[in-house]
């Protein structure tokens, strides 16, 4: 069609906007965003406003303040304790994950040793299995060594992060020039020296990537701590939310004296997601790059 006025390559983007397309995109925008917006607003309302007011109207500072006070007084600052627990578990596990994962991914990508291929395949298989698969068996194992209730019973399983090993493996096998290592070897550098002086300084992007993913996975995990930690004082905030939920009279009419109002639950949910939300806002590119890396090599 030589009369086609559109320039090559950009034609699709020059079409007039298709109203059907715009409508579909707008409907899904509402679907994805309205619940988040509602949650933000709910924390600023009283329970009465929540039921009778416009669902997407803002409440008041005083209601927010009241919800905050009510939430923090629940079991003497339990919410802060839970947030603190989440932070403790997530960050300690993150630190261990990085110390374990980066050298392992590096060795799989750059060095030759016996059992390397087996380890790689095992990593891929375990990585593709959802992490809830082993929770009940893990409980049986931890119970057998009498560690149920110890914080290590969830920190150590969190630290086992095959996806991180895989990401590191991909990163080093595509981004690290082998000549550098060969030169280091010729210069008499030890294998560990080469890792420390050459590979680690180059590894910053993948450290960030593994760090983000591991943190988000640890922070949002529910099943494992739910099964392995028996006492409220040890709960991470995700499990704590479940406890609060049990004390909301509208959801559980048999609740006793520890009543939690719905706006307090909304506020608690907001607090629980804040760290992940911050990570999301600052690292969208990273996180997406990681999802892509999950399916391709380089």
């Amino acid at each position: 069609m030589p009369t086609d006025p559109r320039r090559p390559g950009r034609a699709v983007r020059r079409r007039p906007p298709n109203p059907l397309r715009a409508l579909v995109l707008a409907v899904f925008l509402l679907f994805f965003v309205v619940p988040v917006l509602w949650l933000l607003l709910a924390a600023t309302k009283t329970d009465e406003q929540l039921v009778h007011g416009d669902p997407l109207s803002a409440g008041s500072w005083s209601a927010l303040r009241h919800n905050w006070d009510a939430l923090t007084s629940y079991q003497d600052d339990a919410i802060f304790q839970w947030l603190g627990n989440s932070a403790l578990y997530s960050f300690v596990a993150l630190a261990i994950t990085l110390c374990v994962t980066i050298p392992a991914g590096y060795a799989l990508a750059m060095t030759e040793f016996r059992g390397r291929r087996t380890l790689l395949v095992a990593t891929l298989v375990v990585m593709l299995m959802p992490n809830a698969t082993l929770v009940v068996p893990l409980f049986l194992e931890v119970d057998a060594v009498h560690l149920v209730g110890s914080m290590w019973s969830i920190i150590l399983p969190y630290s086992f992060y095959p996806f991180g090993v895989y990401l590191t493996y991909i990163y080093f096998s595509t981004a690290m020039p082998r000549e550098l290592l060969a030169a280091a070897k010729l210069d008499g550098c030890s294998e560990f020296g080469a890792f420390r002086r050459i590979a680690l300084p180059l590894a910053a992007p993948v450290v960030a990537l593994v760090g983000f993913f591991s943190f988000v996975a640890n922070w949002t995990n529910y099943f494992l701590p739910y099964v392995l930690l028996p006492e409220s004082g040890q709960f991470p905030v995700q499990v704590g939310l479940g406890t609060l939920l049990n004390n909301v009279p509208q959801f559980n009419p048999t609740v006793g004296s520890l009543e939690v109002q719905r706006p307090e639950l909304a506020l608690a949910t907001l607090l629980a997601i804040t760290p992940v939300l911050v990570v999301f806002l600052f690292s969208q590119r990273f996180l997406v790059a990681g999802m892509l890396a999950g399916a391709t090599k380089g």
């Binding site: 086609d4 994805f32 929540l50 060095t111 082993l134 009940v136 529910y222």
Partner: protein, 297 residues
């Protein structure tokens, strides 16, 4: 860019430093991958006094009145969710990719992706409210459909759809971004050639873009399938919030949990775990072996 990853190009130092690098990881892999698996198998085949029990734990679990319904629930949920996921994620990614205004498609991708931050218990919390006609911003819609109370909305028959909606809300944005990235990799020349040959947008999508997205769709379906069989937190919280209108043994993982902690029947709990484990292993193994996605060099 394929990595030049043949054994020959890997650097071999004399000695065993390679093992030193992987040793801590191998310890964790054994402790939290291999040992629990072995443990599950051991418990699944022994009775309370640790004698070999044949398949009796499996038959006990399978004969339990909650077992078949749980399989049915999970299967129905998976079906609804995977259909949602494939149709809508691909449709939305194609729509976004065809947008004329660059800034709009970037902003939309981010906003679609945002609920991913609410993974886990948080998304279930949000949807408890969304599904309660008394407080939901779409309460008018729920009432128009004839549901006036939370209990009516989450009637057991609705759960597969509701759980699929929750999972879609949390996870779809990430996949949309992935699909969008894959669409960007299709050469504009190919699309232009099709257009010059007279193909409309639908034909371009159907004949060119969809076939090129295929492997990404497969990747998404397989990972989502494996994750979906492990359903736990959403039905658990729905059940808590509805005083049992949504049963506490809706999914297989919930049933396994109840066998272990309510019925004191560790063997049957392990038997269900083993079954779920086999599903997970088979899916992962097939994928690694067949797809070529993960060439272990």
């Amino acid at each position: 860019m394929g990595a030049p990853s043949h054994g020959a190009s890997r650097i071999a130092w004399p000695g065993r430093a390679g093992h030193g690098f992987v040793a801590p990881y191998v310890v964790l892999l054994i402790a939290f991958g291999v040992v629990p698996t072995v443990y599950a198998i051991y418990f699944a085949f022994t009775d309370a006094s640790e004698r070999f029990a044949g398949l009796s734990n499996f038959t006990t679990a399978a004969a339990d009145f909650r077992f078949l319904p749980a399989i049915g629930h999970v299967a129905l949920y998976l079906l609804v969710w995977l259909v949602f996921l494939v149709v809508l994620v691909v449709g939305l990614a194609l729509s976004l990719h065809g947008l004329t205004v660059r800034a709009a498609d970037r902003a939309l991708r981010f906003l679609y992706y945002l609920p991913g931050a609410l993974a886990g218990a948080a998304s279930a919390m949000v949807w408890l409210f969304m599904l309660d006609p008394a407080v939901s911003p779409v309460g008018f819609l729920l009432r128009a459909l004839g549901y006036d109370t939370f209990g009516q909305v989450i009637a057991p028959g609705h759960l597969p759809i509701l759980l699929a909606v929750i999972a879609f809300w949390t996870g779809a944005g990430g996949w949309i971004v992935v699909m969008y990235g894959a669409l960007n990799n299709i050469s504009p020349d190919v699309l232009e050639a099709a257009r010059i040959d007279g193909a409309g947008p639908w034909q371009v999508a159907w004949r060119i873009q969809l076939p090129l997205l295929r492997k990404w769709i497969v990747y998404m379906v397989i990972l989502s399938f494996a994750a979906g069989t492990q359903l736990f937190v959403e039905p658990q919280l729905l059940s808590q919030a509805s005083n049992g209108v949504a049963g506490r043994d809706y999914s297989l993982n919930q049933l396994s949990y109840d066998f272990a902690f309510q019925n004191d029947n560790v063997g049957s709990a392990a038997a269900i775990s083993v079954e779920l484990l086999v599903v997970g292993l088979v899916v992962a193994g097939l994928f690694v072996a067949r797809s070529g996605f993960f060439d272990a060099d």
